[in-house]
Symmetry: C2
Subunit: 581 residues, 2 copies
């Protein structure tokens, strides 16, 4: 059998395994060494290939595809630093549990570490940041080798989508000639596969019963939900909360704020409420049940740290230790949906609770105050921009949120609704990198999609916009342009005027209209609030890349936020004083 025949059969077996295990999308960057894999993925009828020249952007695009589709996604690049450009997205995928199958083409063994061009040490290139690494064997076409190639593909997907989802890395040494044989069609769709059955983690009934008995007698309980993506979790946790009479402090990435069941127990303005000393001092819970990642809110984090005497239960189905504040008193390693569902069955629904109604009342007051504050805000600033956006978003839309300030503003201003809006963000490592590409990847599966992003983060991944042009993707970018790093004005270094603007303000002075033109997008610069409304309403009917820039002032953003928190604080204090009377 010729080299080309063996190459073709081996890679066909591998790709068949990937497809059988659920791979539908593969993001490929151009290169020579990866030629046989690139050609064969393109040839496969059930694989959709996305080309992306910039590997950093390619990996984040794949991340977005996987986040939005719920399926594992393949990534392929050539040898050398190309593969190193995947690193930021691989780390984000690892920390946020997104399944990626990273495939890097490599020089064969005899061309490694001898000064050959484009040859770097690719073994364990991503260190401990992948769930699994395998150096593939050189292509051979014996029956065992074909079975090995296919099984390894299926196993790679299994590793990526099992408990603790995440990226895996397969390195392929490939020898020249690099051309496979595409005629006849090299894949056999009829081939048998390997079925993988996964179980879920389930807490023993006795333990659940003990917890139910304990919770039944507690009035002052809180449920806290950070970012979580578990089938059926929204309904299960809401049911449990209603039965227990516990408010749910719901991070925007918990997806609880935009469900039809959210109105009765979900609290969404806790970031403002928990800045009030009186609340922190007087509304201490006896029990906290926490699910998901660390919430965005810093005031919530400080509140949790202050609760030394509370029982604090962390429920998590992964193997991470999700407790950055060291407040956990019980760590429960269990599927979250199953935990809520089974526990709720054991709980007798409580009668109306003063504790819950106090939280709900404070939440209403905070939101009314915020709303009044926004009414009075005439000049453009970021808090109101996000507030307005959320109100204008169409039903069933998705909002992808940049890190640093936008996610904090979404936390503050994305309030309970029944519009079924999904909120997405890269909250594994919270980087400002790769956000444009991730959002564009997500836009393939989530429409309409709005990306809310600051100018530095937009700049960081400007290259990502090429995917909108090449693949005709639809996205509306809400660009909050304060010409620099807005978040630093909220931090102590703001008091260091000598170096502040150079090191932290970092104004770039760029007019992004040029970039958007280059990518054939539509660009609108907002001049007033009416203009923002019009632009967002118009965006629904626009196809392609649509960038709406909201020019803001870092100083004014800071002042407006502080005024808003001040007003909420006043109103909450008044309410609590009245309640005491």
């Amino acid at each position: 059998m010729s080299h080309q025949e063996a190459l073709t059969k081996y890679l066909a077996a591998f790709i068949t395994g990937l497809v059988q295990a659920g791979i539908k999308d593969v993001v490929i960057s151009p290169g020579s060494r990866s030629t046989p894999l690139a050609l064969m993925f393109s040839e496969h009828r059930d694989v959709k290939v996305y080309m992306n020249v910039d590997e950093r952007s390619a990996a984040f695009f794949a991340l977005g595809l996987a986040k939005a589709s719920g399926n594992p996604v393949g990534l392929l690049c050539t040898s050398g630093t190309a593969a190193a450009n995947y690193y930021p997205a691989v780390i984000e995928a690892s920390l946020s549990g997104v399944p990626l199958i990273v495939m890097t083409a490599d020089r064969p063994h005899e061309l490694r570490d001898v000064g050959a061009p484009q040859a770097i040490d690719q073994l364990h290139l991503y260190g401990r940041h992948v769930k699994w690494f395998a150096e593939m064997a050189l292509p051979e076409s014996g029956a065992t080798q074909l079975r090995y190639a296919k099984t390894t593909a299926i196993r790679a997907v299994k590793e990526a989508i099992g408990h603790d989802k995440g990226p895996v890395h397969l390195n392929f040494p490939l020898r020249e000639p690099l051309l496979p044989l595409l005629d006849p069609y090299p894949f056999n769709d009829e081939e048998t596969t390997i079925i993988i059955e996964e179980s879920i983690l389930f807490l023993p009934y006795e333990k659940l019963k003990n917890l139910a008995e304990q919770f039944q007698g507690v009035e002052r309980g809180l449920i806290i939900c950070g970012k979580i993506e578990e089938d059926g979790f929204t309904e299960a946790v809401t049911t449990l909360a209603i039965k227990l009479g516990f408010p749910i402090l719901a991070d925007p990435l918990s997806q609880l704020r935009s469900s039809s069941m959210s109105s009765t127990t979900v609290i969404d303005s806790y970031d403002a409420i928990l800045r009030v000393n009186k609340v922190v001092d007087e509304l201490k819970p006896e029990v906290i049940i926490r699910f998901g990642g660390a919430p965005v809110s810093k005031s919530l984090s400080i509140f949790m740290k202050s609760l030394y005497d509370s029982e604090h239960i962390v429920v998590d189905s992964g193997s991470q230790w999700k407790d950055p504040n060291y407040v956990g008193t019980t760590m429960i390693h269990c599927n979250e949906t199953a935990f809520c569902t089974e526990l709720a069955i054991l709980i007798q629904e409580k009668k109306s609770s003063n504790w819950l109604s106090t939280w709900l009342a404070m939440d209403e007051i905070a939101k009314k105050t915020i709303s009044d504050h926004m009414q009075l805000t005439e000049e453009l600033e970021e808090g109101k921009a996000v507030y307005e956006l959320v109100n204008l978003l169409p039903v069933d839309s998705t909002v992808f949120v940049g890190n640093s300030m936008p996610i904090r503003d979404i936390d503050s201003f994305f309030h309970k609704n029944s519009k079924n809006i999904m909120v997405m963000a890269n909250r594994g490592a919270n980087g400002i990198d790769g956000v444009v590409s991730t959002a564009l990847g997500a836009s393939v599966y989530k429409r309409p999609l709005f990306l809310v992003i600051g100018d530095l983060s937009f700049f960081h991944d400007l290259n990502g916009l090429l995917m909108a042009k090449l693949h005709k993707l639809n996205i509306t970018v809400i660009l909050l342009n304060n010409d620099g790093g807005g978040i630093f004005s909220y931090l102590p270094q703001y008091g260091e005027p000598k170096h502040f603007e150079v090191l932290f303000g970092t104004p770039t002075g760029l007019n992004y209209e040029h970039a958007v033109q280059m990518y054939h997008g539509q660009y609108t610069k907002i001049l007033d609030w009416e203009g923002l409304k019009m632009a967002i309403l118009d965006s629904v009917s626009y196809e392609g890349l649509n960038v709406i820039e909201i020019p803001t002032d870092r100083e004014r953003n800071l002042t407006s936020h502080r005024e808003m928190w001040q007003k909420v604080s006043q109103e909450i204090n008044l309410f609590l004083q009245d309640a005491e009377k």
Copy 2:
């Protein structure tokens, strides 16, 4: 002592060590966790800080600074994926031996692996791609700790600039509050330092004498020089070659083509010459002495592989095994300049050699043919663009060359001259990534600087252009725009029409004038050869970012190259036939 005082003293000791060991430039990306280091670098009177928002670009910019200045350069970023963006440049620095001191701020131990925001596992983040990694202690101000901090800084520089130069990585856990005390001035310039004396590798005299005796009797010898940067090497190797009567096949990155001594022994058109079967068959050397990295030329590489009976000596001062073709018969681990200088002393200068004059004659014929071919080339194409550029470059200028096709065209068309032109490129891993940023970093020390780059590589690092705007750097970019990946037309996959254009051609259809406008640069699109001349002559007087686009056609580039090789082959064959008569 307060936390802030300890933080300040500890970091002052560290930074003092770095500066004493030779760090002058530090490239910083904005972030919160890195605040104390960023502020203190900015405060130091002898440190020049370059801010760069995109860490991938920042690291390549630092690489360029270090390559052009010959000094180690510092890099600083915050925690999280920011640090992962350095990876491509770190790998390039590692493979091309460029000293970088990579400093990553990190969360302290109690905030690691517990779901805290922006916390990734940064220990050994760059794996085996750095020469040295150290996890720094938390800031403390005891005498031993201050001495430790300073010594570690000096040692880090020593590791980066010693034998086998390269990047080192220091990870800094830092606790809040992150503000150091800048008043009074925290550094003491008078402090004592640690002196480091380095030796060079020197081959024992007996071995040298044996080699000299052996070479003295050889007529058919070749010296091959790839990329090499050793003080005094150009003069030493030329002297040796003249005495031995051996031609030097000199890669453009050997810097031998543009020295005043280059005319007598340097051969620069071997890429074209060695495509002639008759040359490969008949002009076999008995001895090859090779220095530096793998040459760019593929025909030279194939020629070397064909020489089974030649003695092939590889001289290298590093610890790498620079022999991708497995042709070496003797590996000499020795300082290259010392080797040439000492050996030349032991050699008696040979009389005129027929072997040398044949090579020089072929070289002249090849260049005359290339020149004639260029005269006849009317339409814009890349080979002639590079050929014209090289002729027009001012004395003492630097040309930074992109990978893929530009470096191959420079190899073919950058001929011997006495203009003292430096040729630079990223030839560690040969990536198309980070080239714009590396060139801009180099432009700080090398003026005037011309970057010759293809459109995909330009696109990949478009963000790098921000540094030209922010730091008022002068650079002329010669953008060879064939709208896609030109090199693939020269490879076998060109014969795979079904997927070729999507997977390898990868046209982006971008008009880069928009991007250049965004960065406040000047943009000129060339329409004919006269226009190119004018634009390059004008560029000398232009300050700032200047982009000259040469639109070309991939098909035409390929045809013109093939015609040129064909003509050279005819002329060389004629010459060899004449010589036989």
